[in-house]
Amino acid sequence: MSDDPTKVRIRRILVAMDASPHSQSALQAAIELATHTGANLAGIFVEDENLLRMGNLSFTREIRLFSTAVAACSADDIQRQLRVQRRRAEELVHAAARRAGVSSTFRTVRGQVEKEILAACSNADVVALGRQSYSNSGAKKLGSTAQALLQQASVPVMVLPEEAQLRAPVMVLYDGSKAANQALLLAAQITKQTQYTPLSVVNLAATPDKAGPLEKEVLQLLQPHKLHVSFYSIGRFSAQRLLHLLETHQSGLIISPAALGTANEQQQLLKTITSPVILVH
């Protein structure tokens, strides 16, 4: 992030890869963003320390996803599987970057997944990752890595559902918090660079009388960017109302402060929204 509080610059986008469909969506969205912002794409693959350790336990078994067969699984086996996965992830990142004409790097680290990605975040401006690492459990909720990043990452986190695509329009959720200001600036930057105008701002004023000043604040913050802005309002805040608004307007990218509503509401929002979401701290 830039030092200038009114400006946000995206120079490096970190993509956490595990070759799952979700992470491929994340890669595509990151590429799209990088194409417009000129940022560098940094792929990262974490060889899960836990899995390697598990492989050393004599009594654990692997239950295969499709065949549901139970098989012995040594550390060597895990090592081999991870290597295959890593190679695929690396190929995906480089191929996609090459196609889009974006510069890319790729790094493999070994350790605890969340820790390593959090560590890697420190020199990135945005981190992109899939909503889940796997989709077959049937769960729609956030994966553990995504959850950890959302809670602890210092940079904006872009979360992508399976098959979601980054496109116009950009919609920013604004509640007047510091994080919301950051979100607004990021949204302004992305809107300008992608030309996904107009920028849609959802006014999340806590009470109706605060809506006016909030809107003024937004306009003031956006003044240097000279953007065409459309405002939306949902009245009293609830996840349900917000979701309805987002669905009817078919936004292509949602930028929101990370702390919005209760933890439950956050969970509900993230698991239901079908477009890419960037959460800003």
Partner: protein, 811 residues
Amino acid sequence: MIKVVEALPPEQLYTVCNPAKFDFVTTDDLEPLKAVIGQERATEAVQFGIGMQKDGYNVFALGPNETDKENLVRHFLEARANAEPAPPDWCYVYNFEQPHIPNAMKLPPGTAAEFSSDMNTFTEDLQTALTSAFESEEYQTRRQVIEEHAQEEHQEAFEKLQEKAREKDLALLRTPAGFTFAPIKDGEVTPPDEIKKMSKEEREALEDEVEQLQDELQRILRQVPSQQRKLREQVRKLNQEIARLAARDLINEIRDRYENLQQIQEHLDAIEEDIVDNVNNLVQSSGGDADGGGSGQLAQLQKAQQSQQVLQRYQANDLIDHSTTDHAPVVYEDNPTMHNLVGRIEYQAQMGTLVTDFTLIKPGALHRAQGGYLMLDARKVLSEPFAWEALKRTLHSGEIRIQSLREAMGYVSTISLEPEPVPLDVKVVLLGDRSLYYLLHELDPEFAELFKVEADFDDQMDRSSESQHLYARMLAALVKEHELRPLKRPAVARVIEHSARMVNDAEKLSTAITEVKDLLQEANYWAEQEQRDTITRADVNDALDARRRRAGRVRERIQENILRDTLFIDTDGEVIGQVNGLSVLQLGRDMFGRPNRITARVSLGKGSVIDIEREVELGGPLHSKGVLILSGFLSARYATDRPLSLAASLVFEQSYGAIEGDSASSAELYTLLSAIGQVPVKQSLAVTGSVNQHGQVQPIGGANEKIEGFFDICQQRGLTGDQGVLIPAANVKNLMLHRRVIEAVTNGQFHIYPVEHIDQGMELLTDLPIGEVQADGTFPEDSVNGRVAQTLEQLAHRRTAFLTTSNNEEK
């Protein structure tokens, strides 16, 4: 006594049509004759044929094309068809049970196009209706509920398992290929060292727990496929329900419109079921399905194509529609290929392959003529590959079956359609010449069965004052139809006279209407050149003369060769054993006569007459027959009591082509008698006519041309007044000679002698009496017979003497 032959008076050479007997000035005064003249037999046959409603009573109209039979037949058919109601329409629709056999649908006249357009609108509306139904909140919510319900069930089991594991300090981990359980401590998998430190009991307990959880997880995962199947089934049922609701209104609207048409009602039922079964294909493309977005362009294209294919099934192909007519059709197919007759299936190129469906079925002439009449040119049908067979098969089976040529030939067996055959209801009229009809009758066993009615168009009609009047009215009709100048009365008479000449018969008229029409058009041209408002007799004569000149190159070349004495023909003087025979040549439309020198030489022999033409195979069988008859005549008359002891040879001099016909046999007999009796024959006369064993002269064809052929030579050399032609008396009725001949005859410069018997001819040619047989069986000395008999007797004696001498020598 032999009857003396008198030369024919001019009025017998040309049967005039007297203009004074007509009561009009020009053809404009006449009521044009619409009906057909002189074709009573054919007319009756055609009317019988089109009225007879039984199988196989199709019509073959035979006769020369010049009779204009195509127009005549069409005239009859149209008159009949105009009084008949419009026949039913035909549609092809998709067959949902057997897609490769599209169903044929019979509809009331004028309904097919309407139904087809209704179905087109239906397909367009259907997509919109389905799209909005599937985009409706109701559908989306119900679908999400189903999906979420299924997921929740699964997720709950999964979460319970995770919870259970957590209680036991175990974690569910995702490996690249599946899941596993591992003991966990502070969020990390317990290192193996710590496990090792556990007591045996503790470790066994841990292992047991892991195993239990694994079993449970396995059970949960195993349920996934059946759960997903259940989910899909529920979604499918929902989709079907929504689709049925969305489509029903549209379908009912059409159902109401065609309330009384059972076939359409059944087809609509089938469409409704098909929409329900194929709703996924239909909706995906219209963007109603959530999966529509992400897949590539090709996939989208394929989906769109797929839905298009499904929608196309609901259309209707209005093969035959009678919304614009109110009577039965009369169709003339002038290019009767197999496909043009029975219809064809077209193909479209799609991504490099050829595909087809029922909308690409195209009707043939038989379809278009359904409920009416189809006219075909027999020769064209026969010359198109497989067309004749296809026509017969259709008539035989009573149904029109569309088959592609490639299949008929057995070359390819691509997936194609076999449209349901349409029951045949067509009366077929074939037009052809007589030889074709008789050939088909002889060679094609099915022909007689399928074309039971022969409409035989005559090429001539009787000539009487009534028929001449009708003929004049027919000319008036032609004048009107072809927008020509009206004919004056004498011109009409001249055309009628020429019509008689066309059939070479003074008592008949030609029914070759197209030729008469040509003559009128040409006469009209000459009238125009003369800047006349009407066609006169002179214009008709000009037209005929010009036509003769145009075709006259060969004729003039032959005449020139005769006049320049390259071809030897004498027209005066007397020569023994030499007669001017007459032959006729046809080149294109022009027919003309020419004289041929026939000579004979006689010597001692065994009684044979050698026909040199036959010896070199230039004489045809009829010519040879004529020559052999001569021997019969000679033997009977002169050799009843002694052997015929001569060897005679006969030849057409300077003839370099084949000779056929017996019309020169009388000339040959005259030559032979002259040669035997050493009687000179007048070269100023020419001869035509065949002869029988009794010496009677029999009629021949082309009398007019033959006379004119000899006349032209004589005239160009200068008429002497002695010149003339001997024709069979039976041919007098055929005479319609050119006016130049008539003029010469009137002036006594040329003579036509009608001869009944060879004796009359011989007297004319030699000026010697023929000599009748006397009581003692001999002939008077100074007569033709006398001289001939004398020579033959001498020859017989010489032969006997010769035989005796040679016999003695042998001894």
